[in-house]
Every structure is written in C-alpha cells, then in structure tokens.
Symmetry: C2
Subunit: 242 residues, 2 copies
C-alpha cells in the first residue's frame, strides 16, 4: 500500500488564530485513493524547518502534501523550502507568469509575479476546471493553505493517485462504555488482525456511549469484523450499525 505524509505550514495554526481545515479534506481524498496517510506535521513559517521536514517526509513516504505558505509575501517560504530540500534553485515558471499577466492585466505588480516561482524541475498539474495549476516537485504536492482552494485541488490529486484500493469503513454504536465492552472488543481485535479497529467514547451524548470503527481494504473482511463484534454484544446494547 502506498503511504503519504502531510506538512501543514503556518504560524496562524500554532498561535491559535485558526484551526486547520485542510487535513481532514486531504485525509478523505487519500482514503478514497487507497493511500495510507501516516502523519501530518504542523510547523511554523520557517524556511530551514520546512526544508528539513520536506527532505525527511518526502524520502520516507510515497507522497508528501504540503499545505500553506505559497503566496507572494515574506512569510510564504514553502516553494523555497521545497526547492532547498531537493537542492535545486527557485525559478520563474513562464506558464504561471503568463497566467498571472492575463489575470491581473495592467494591475500586475512585481509582488504578483512572485507567485510564478517554482522549484526548478517541478511540473504543473492542471485540468479543464482548474485555472491555476498545482505545483508538484517529484513526489511533493505543494498546495495552498486557503481552505476553498485546497479543496478545489483535491480532484486533481485523486485523478493522479490511481491504482489503489479505496478504504472501507464500518461502525457499531453502542450504549456500553469502553471498560464494559473491552473483553468483547479484544477478542475481535485478536481475531481480525487485518482490520484496523478503533474505539471512540462520546462525552455526554444521549444516543450512544462508544463508537467502534472497522477500517480496511477488503470489504468482506471489514464487514465480518464489524459483525463479529456486534454479535458479541449483549442484547439491547447496540444503537446502530453503520
């Protein structure tokens, strides 16, 4: 199975100004593509840290997706960080420069043109519905932090990451708490090693006390684990199967 990492870049996320909205979006794209997202590191707008993280994460995962730091201002250092990680210079893409010229026309400034910078050797991924391409340097996708734009790029990731088997996920919602259901859960975990099983307590939810999730690649296997667990619960303690 292919693996991926995310590198989420931005002081605003670590200073409590905003909560990240992009990781869950990327995670769902990768689940549908059958790619295992193994970690997401959130860091500050620091060139040397970005470069070091990209170097490590890109070399230890099949794909790396960065989020944030791609505008024209002083705190946008992701492109330079990715270039440094691959030991290449930052160059101006003629294609992106043309796009900027036709978008801004007479209002174009030198500042705007900085958005045409790419690591040397990067490719541009675009499609009919995408005005602004995605910059991809080897196995590193450089995505913008603005949630609406980050979201808009997802179909292009999905279109390139073919060949994987999508994950499937089932669930059991129960009125038992984790301490009560643990013996039954442990048995199913032991007997269904190929299924990733998670247990999530709810806090003051009137409907159910714990959600058990069953995830994997082979639908029959995942469903069998879910059903085995459900059948092991005492009568009347299951709220719902999903």
């Amino acid at each position: 199975m292919k693996t991926a990492a995310a590198l989420v870049i931005g002081n605003e996320l670590l200073s409590g100004k905003i909560a990240d909205q992009n990781l869950v979006v990327l995670a769902r794209t990768l689940r549908a593509a059958g790619v295992l997202l193994r970690r997401a590191n959130t860091i500050l707008d620091e060139l040397d840290v970005i470069a070091a993280e990209v170097r490590v994460l890109a070399s230890t995962h099949d794909w790396l997706f960065t989020s944030g730091g791609v505008g024209p201002t002083h705190d946008d250092v992701t492109i330079e960080g990715v270039a440094r990680a691959f030991d290449v210079p930052v160059v101006t893409s003629p294609i992106l420069a043309d796009l900027l010229r036709s978008h801004y026309g007479e209002r174009l400034t030198e500042g705007h043109l900085l958005m045409a910078r790419i690591p040397e050797g990067a490719r541009l991924v675009s499609g009919e519905s995408l005005v602004w391409p995605v910059v991809v340097m080897q196995n590193v996708w450089v995505l913008p932090g603005v949630p609406e734009i980050f979201q808009a790029k997802q179909p292009f990731i999905r279109a390139e990451l073919t060949g994987g088997t999508p994950f499937v996920s089932f669930a059991v919602l129960t009125t038992l708490d984790e301490g009560q259901l643990k013996p039954m859960l442990d048995r199913v975990v032991d007997e269904h090693r190929d299924v990733a099983i998670g247990s999530y307590p709810r806090w003051s939810d009137p409907e159910y006390r714990t959600r058990l999730t069953f995830d994997g690649i082979l639908e029959d296997q995942v469903r069998a684990a879910r059903d085995a667990f459900a059948q092991s619960l005492p009568a009347g303690t299951i709220v719902r199967l999903e």
Copy 2:
C-alpha cells in the same frame, strides 16, 4: 522564551473521520502563558511511533502536550508510549484506581481499571474543579483526545505555566491583495524584526482581501509595527484595525 510541542495521536484524524479540535485550544492556552508552540505532529495509534516522537519532542522543547489515546482499549497506547520514551514501566496509580472505584462502584470492570495506568514516576495534577487529574511525566502532559475533556484541562496547564509574558496580537484588514501591499509590508517586516508579521489572503470575502497580523511579547513594539504598516497604506484601503 519557553517552547512547546504537541503530539496529536489518533487514527481517526488521519483517516478523515474527524477534524482535530484540540490544537487550537492548546495553542491559545500557550499564547496566554507566553510559551511558543513550535510544532504539532499528528500520528497514528502506534506504540513505537509514539515512543519515538515523545523521546524527540520532549527532549527538544520545554514542554510536550499529547492529545488522545488514553482510554482502556487496545488502541489507547499513549501511556505506554510515554513510559517507553522515558524507559520506565507502566504502573497502576492507587489514587486513580480509587477514583475509578468510587466512580463506578459495583459496575467497575478490569477494563475500567486500565485507566489507572501511568508511567512510573508520573505526577498527577489536579484542582478543586477537576475530578480526574492530568498525568504529567516530567515535562510531558498527557491529555485526553475528547475535546470537552481536553478543554476542561486547560486551566490546569495555565496554572502551572507561570512566569511567561503573554503574546499580544494586532491586525490590519485591507482591501489590497498581497501582490499590491507587498512593498509596504516588506518595509515594515525589515524595520520591525522583533514582531512576527503574517499575511492571510481571504477568498471571496466582500469585506476585505488581506488580513495582516502582528504578534509579539512587547505590546508597544507590536502596536508600533501595526501602526507603521497601516500608515503606509494608500488612503481608503484600510477596512479595520484590530
């Protein structure tokens, strides 16, 4: 200035089931305490990865805060990971076991009692309003992933992290885009090196196009940077100062 890292643990965050709600809460607590949160690593429920991350992050930051993986089920391996990072065994805390006994009474199971496990040598931080203490192993705070409980623990972090100067944050909202305001911004960035300045474009917001933020420890310094930038903007392009 003291530094901190966060370790956010849970398959559910990397499989797209839910978006994390805890990082922004912790970030705000640390800002108010004058502690610089330098990174947040989100990882899977994997014992060896947790142990390795705790070892590195706890030794390179003044504080480490973990979120998630502290219940009694098979996927709750944070306590064991922290213990392994410090090369100590997991032991049962008599204080926590007593709390569980009095809470559950006759309903107490062996599963429930697993929530009394702590790394040997960990201390318990509690207070009048806190029924269940926080486990703190040296400089590592072990916090639960359930957002309501994570939130409830924040005052106890704040009470222990004394001595820092809270960060202050000001902002300018403008109708200029980043390409237009860059020359003025670069000048202020150059002349106010002790102030962290951020630039955040809005996407299809009718009110303003860019938010510039000014963060630091010394209020006068931060305000001066904000005001210098505001004064450098053309008339009629400022929407609001914050």
